[in-house]
């Protein structure tokens, strides 16, 4: 464990130095470092990994959003893929049928997903635990079934030839170009999640998760924060959906939004660290890579995944993000202890 701790330590002290210069500096640096990733991947591996990087960015948006409502706010939701589907289908339909540009269709998908998030969140005001799980599961599956039976939404053939985004004459028609777009959105999503979670809103979410009665008497409008968490997560899912739909080859089918996808998403959040700020990001990266590297063993994959889930819940229930968080908590605790023993007491 000390090896891990020293890695975390060196990274965090480096980030602290950057933060001292300007608080946006770590973010700008991270963005700049990630820009040449497609070229690096193509050189070291091959173009397939650029496609994978795109997928990871989309999964990051999904996991970060899910982590906010489920990990931080503690609301049991298993309908998240339904919101992802709404974002994807709305953005796709608007571009295909009205011919609107991606830059108009994409926000519409996000907006509609946000509204759906509000609807999905309404049961959460009254329900908890298994009941809320059933309600959200039902809502999520209903979306998929609606898509499967409605010709307008693609039904069995799916939606084909969803147009690629363009800026003037620049078309995002290959995975390298698309990466620049999804990576930017993923970074914005991560940045906003940090802003939200490291604020009074984030603390209110956690308080709601820990104890709703105690939260309420301390001045927190529990219903409002539950709904806010659902809407925020839905906006993330809607963004992920729109980016997925317009990604080459521009095809979506109701099979992309099943319970299996939901479970994979849960695995990402749990492995990454549910309720920890790095949880969604780490989980998305690790699960996608593990899944990809084990593809040859296709006959064993479901077993592998199930076992990973079980092992993590037993041995590392806080996920990897939890290990990181625990490190920081201990560090801060030591620091405050030092300050106090030097200073006043």
């Amino acid at each position: 464990m000390t090896a891990v701790n020293s890695i975390i330590h060196s990274i965090s002290s480096f980030v602290d130095k950057l933060n001292a210069v300007h608080r946006m500096l770590p973010w700008v640096l991270a963005f700049v470092l990630l820009l040449p990733l497609p070229q690096i991947l193509a050189a070291v591996f091959n173009d397939y990994y650029i496609y994978l990087a795109n997928k990871i960015c989309i999964f990051i948006l999904l996991s970060v959003g899910l982590n906010i409502v489920k990990g931080f706010c503690g609301q049991v939701t298993v309908g998240h893929v339904g919101l992802y589907a709404i974002g994807a289908v709305s953005s796709a339909l608007v571009s295909i049928h009205f011919g609107w540009s991606f830059w108009l269709a994409f926000p519409i998908g996000i907006l509609l997903s946000g509204i759906a998030g509000l609807i999905v969140g309404l049961p959460s005001v009254r329900l908890e635990g298994a009941y809320l799980a059933l309600a959200t599961l039902g809502l999520g599956e209903s979306v998929r079934i609606m898509i499967a039976v409605t010709p307008l939404f693609g039904s069995s053939t799916g939606l084909l030839s969803i147009p690629e985004p363009t800026i003037g004459s620049f078309v995002f028609d290959n995975y390298t170009k698309y990466y620049y777009m999804v990576m930017t959105f993923a970074m914005i999503g991560i940045y906003l999640s940090f802003s939200i979670l490291r604020s009074a809103t984030g603390r209110a979410f956690m308080a709601v998760r820990e104890d709703t009665v105690a939260a309420a008497v301390h001045g927190i409008n529990v219903a409002k924060y539950k709904l806010l968490a659902f809407v925020i997560s839905a906006l993330y899912a809607g963004a992920a959906g729109g980016l997925f739909a317009h990604m080459p080859p521009g095809y979506i089918h109701h099979n992309n939004f099943t319970i299996i996808e939901m479970v994979t998403l849960l695995l990402m959040v749990v492995l990454g660290g549910i309720g920890h700020i790095w949880g969604g990001i780490l989980g998305a990266i690790i699960v996608t890579i593990i899944y990809d590297q084990t593809l040859e063993f296709y006959f064993i994959q479901p077993l592998l995944f199930g076992m990973t889930m079980i092992l993590i819940v037993i041995f590392m229930p806080r996920g990897i993000g939890g290990v990181i968080d625990r490190y920081f908590m201990t560090k801060k605790f030591m620091k405050i202890r030092e300050e106090n023993s030097d200073g006043t007491s």
């Binding site: 091959n46 397939y48 084909l160």
Partner: protein, 402 residues
């Protein structure tokens, strides 16, 4: 890691590398990528058969001394996985040829990918008409396209069964296609409207309400368009609802898959369907194939998914043998094009398919849907040792249903 182990490992690795380079220096591999739906028992067997056949080609000398190096991947009938597999095979394995896929919803997006990457793609099972209508010059279809089946079925049904038909349509792409096409053909050929249409889930389990309604509608026949297990369930429940055997059950193309008669048992008797291959086929080549499949994979009356996968390998073998392949590090694009052109030049391939398979160079469905012959098959006996009989054999014109 102790030193001895480390040394052995290093030595072993070095040995393998040298050997590999030696082999590589002698002849180059033809890399073939395969992505199929391998989540059912039969699905895995189709994949296994393709691999076994390729293995046998290699054992008897390969293609002009070059070995075929196949990579088999499972797409679980999911479009995003199929797309990922295709991209991986094209960019990582750098395949010369892509075989895929089983489900139409997976094949549809892959067509765009192979077209963009200029990689020839040959399809083992998908029947949705749109696949070849996209105008890709790189795609070839071995199975009979859904647009032909409905014509065959509608003709036979209208002439021999009646014009009042009920439709039970599952949500998967192929079944939807079959349902739509059949309704269209019944109208076009016989002027009849559907007596009842029900849309059900891909994996629906309860058809009782629909069966009751169908029973009271007094129809001549019921078209059940669904994947195999779902169809079997619907058949069983149609009898449980009391619909007599005189109301003929018509199956969509998945009716040819063995789970239908094995699960439906007696309920499968009399069910007929249009398919690309009948196990009851009398030709010697068919009998030999049936025996082979029984011996190797334990399936006693192979469906057209088996035969089409087999024909596909044979067609690929012919095309690879005829193509002028350089197979060096700079010739990937040229080799891919050569393979494409070689497949396109195949004319009148006679194999397990019920009729000849021919391709041509134009990027049109007429050229890319190589197989235009359907057989009408009925189950004369259901259960584990089911039996089939051939009712009729029909070759459709190349532009039928367009």
């Amino acid at each position: 890691m102790n030193k001895l182990y480390k040394n052995c490992l290093a030595g072993g690795l070095a040995g393998v590398m040298v050997a590999g380079m030696a082999i590589g220096a002698m002849a180059a591999d033809i890399r073939v990528g395969i992505t199929m739906r391998m989540i059912s028992e039969n699905g895995q067997k189709y994949g296994q058969m393709v691999m076994d056949e390729i293995d046998m080609i290699n054992k008897s000398g390969g293609i002009n001394g070059n070995m075929i190096k196949p990579t088999l991947m499972n797409d679980e009938c999911k479009s995003d996985k199929g797309v990922a597999n295709a991209i991986k095979l094209i960019n990582q394995q750098k395949v010369h040829l892509l075989i895929g896929s089983t489900c139409s919803s997976v094949t549809l997006p892959i067509v765009d990918i192979t077209a963009k990457a200029s990689v020839p793609q040959i399809i083992p099972h998908s029947t949705n008409g749109k696949i070849t209508k996209k105008g890709s010059a790189w795609v070839f279809r071995v199975p009979v396209s859904g647009r032909f089946y409905a014509g065959v079925n509608a003709k036979y049904v209208g002439e021999n069964i009646g014009k009042k038909i009920a439709y039970l349509c599952a949500a998967d792409a192929a079944s939807q296609n079959d349902c739509e096409a059949m309704q269209k053909q019944m109208k076009a050929q016989h002027g009849s409207e559907p007596a009842y249409v029900a849309q059900v889930q891909e994996k629906e389990v309860d058809f009782r309400t629909h069966m009751q309604k169908i029973k009271s509608a007094g129809v001549d026949g019921i078209l059940i368009a669904a994947l195999a297990e779902t169809m079997a369930r619907a058949l069983i429940q149609s009898y449980e609802a009391g619909i007599p055997a005189s109301v003929r059950r018509i199956g969509s193309s998945s009716a040819s898959n063995s789970p239908v008669p094995t699960i439906a048992g007696d309920a499968a008797k009399g069910v007929f369907f249009a398919a690309a291959y009948a196990a009851a086929d009398n030709r010697p080549i068919a009998r030999l194939f049936n025996e082979m499949v029984k011996k190797r994979y334990g399936v006693h009356a192979p469906d057209h998914d088996f035969s089409q996968a087999y024909d596909l390998v044979r067609i690929v073998e012919i095309a690879l043998n005829n193509a002028n392949l350089k197979l060096d590090s700079g010739s990937l694009a040229a080799d891919r094009t050569a393979i494409r052109d070689s497949i396109a030049s195949i004319k009148n391939y006679e194999g397990l398919a019920s009729g000849p398979i021919s391709f041509c160079a134009a990027a049109t469905p007429q050229c890319r849907d190589g197989n235009r012959t359907a057989v009408l098959i009925a189950y004369s006996k259901g259960g584990k040792d089911y039996k089939t009989e051939v009712l009729a054999r029909v070759t459709m014109p190349a532009d039928f249903g367009l």
